[in-house]
């Protein structure tokens, strides 16, 4: 992990190249996170890749309900030579959940981006095959969002055995 100073230096490098790219930095329990402006994701990742973070270890989504903008897309980058990790976070709102795809830069991001689209509804512009990967293709809704009902079958416990199916219906 870069320490807090190195994280700030990296952020400053990005700000020097594009003043709107980095919104803030977070350093919590040794984990360095760059919170960036979503439209700048490709240039930020390209710069970090040039610094040595050549491996996209993970790409995943988060729902920060009730904070706005709600959805987050996290890119975990790894520098294989220095064994150094940095996270890049982009927050997108639910009413326009769009962000550029990084498949051209990191081909391994194809399936994770489809999964984030499947579970959180974030649309990755420029993705070669933007469709659901886990749920059926005709499924409605994005099940990992916090406001999605848990669903499932009602289970009979003692507290609801009188009101659920089978009795007093």
């Amino acid at each position: 992990m870069p320490d807090a100073t190195e994280l700030e230096l990296t952020a400053q490098e990005l700000r020097d190249r594009d003043g709107e790219s980095v919104i803030e930095t977070e350093f919590h329990r040794g984990r360095a996170v760059l919170v960036i402006n979503p439209p700048k994701i490709k240039s930020v990742l390209a710069h970090l890749e040039g610094k040595g973070y050549t491996f996209l270890a993970s790409l995943h989504g988060v729902d920060y309900y009730p904070d706005e903008p709600r959805l987050g897309v996290l890119y975990e980058l790894l520098d294989m030579k220095r064994v150094d990790r940095i996270s890049v976070k982009a927050r997108v709102p639910t009413d326009a959940p769009h962000i550029d795809s990084v498949v051209e830069q990191f081909p391994g991001a194809e399936f994770p981006e489809r999964e984030v689209y499947d579970m959180f509804g974030v649309v990755f512009d420029g993705h070669p095959d933007m469709r659901r990967i886990l749920m059926p293709e005709d499924y409605e809704g994005y099940p990992q969002r916090r406001d999605f009902p848990v669903g499932g079958e009602p289970v009979l416990f003692t507290f609801n055995e009188e009101t659920t199916y089978g009795k007093n219906v």
Partner: protein
């Protein structure tokens, strides 16, 4: 023809049975005539109905489908291994094709995406066919009671539910023995025996006398 049944070996001394057995071993055609011959045949013929004979054969020769869904499949594998040894009951021939199988063991959680596939495999099986829902996920969705799963009863008929997470191989073998009793027109009374309710029927409130009660009847091969 009036059929008069007698216990095997007659009413007399058990030693007489042994004597008749030894006699039968040396018996030649023409040795017995008339009344003796009728009596001899009557003692050696077992009468039953075709339904019962077929059910007896079916119940002792299940061909389960080679099919596993999740962690329960690991327990399902064990029932053919030496400890449970399903071959004792004649069910060891796991078939790789649904066309050759007549028992589907749903061993694991069924996701919404998998459900149409399973339904299709079930439809490809030839009648008569049965299904066992193994484990909590397949019956009531268990710990995965969320958006991703669907209980098996929603898209196909299930004959026996085996609870557990996962059920031990003994539990699955018990479930299959219950299924055998069901196929052999001898359904286990279950709770009816414990509550002294044999011969009673389940009635929903306000539906007294309805013919569509969901109660197993002898001869049913699905539902119940």
């Amino acid at each position: 023809m009036e059929v008069k049944r007698e216990p095997l070996g007659g009413a007399g001394d058990p030693a007489d049975l042994r004597i008749r057995q030894l006699q039968a071993r040396d018996m030649l055609r023409g040795d017995l005539e008339g009344e003796d011959l009728e009596r001899y045949v009557e003692q050696r013929v077992m009468t039953t109905t075709m339904d019962k004979a077929v059910a007896w054969a079916r119940g002792n020769s299940f061909f389960p489908l080679t099919f596993g869904l999740a962690c329960c499949a690991i327990e399902q594998i064990h029932i053919v291994a030496s400890r449970m040894d399903l071959a004792r009951f004649g069910w060891e021939a796991f078939r790789a094709s649904p066309r050759q199988a007549d028992l589907m063991i749903l061993s694991g959680r069924v996701s919404i995406k998998m459900a149409p596939v399973i339904r299709r495999i079930y439809d490809q099986m030839l009648d008569p066919k049965w299904a066992i829902s193994m484990g909590a996920c397949c019956s009531s969705m268990g710990v995965f009671n969320n958006y991703a799963l669907v209980p098996a009863d929603k898209f196909m008929p299930v004959d026996v539910h085996v609870p557990g997470c996962p059920p031990r191989p003994e539990a699955l073998a018990h479930g299959i023995i219950k299924l055998r009793a069901k196929v052999q027109l001898n359904p286990p009374p279950g709770w009816r025996e414990r509550y002294d309710a044999i011969g009673t029927e389940e009635l929903l409130p306000g539906e007294t006398g309805s013919p569509d009660i969901n109660v197993f009847r002898p001869g049913d091969t699905a539902g119940a």
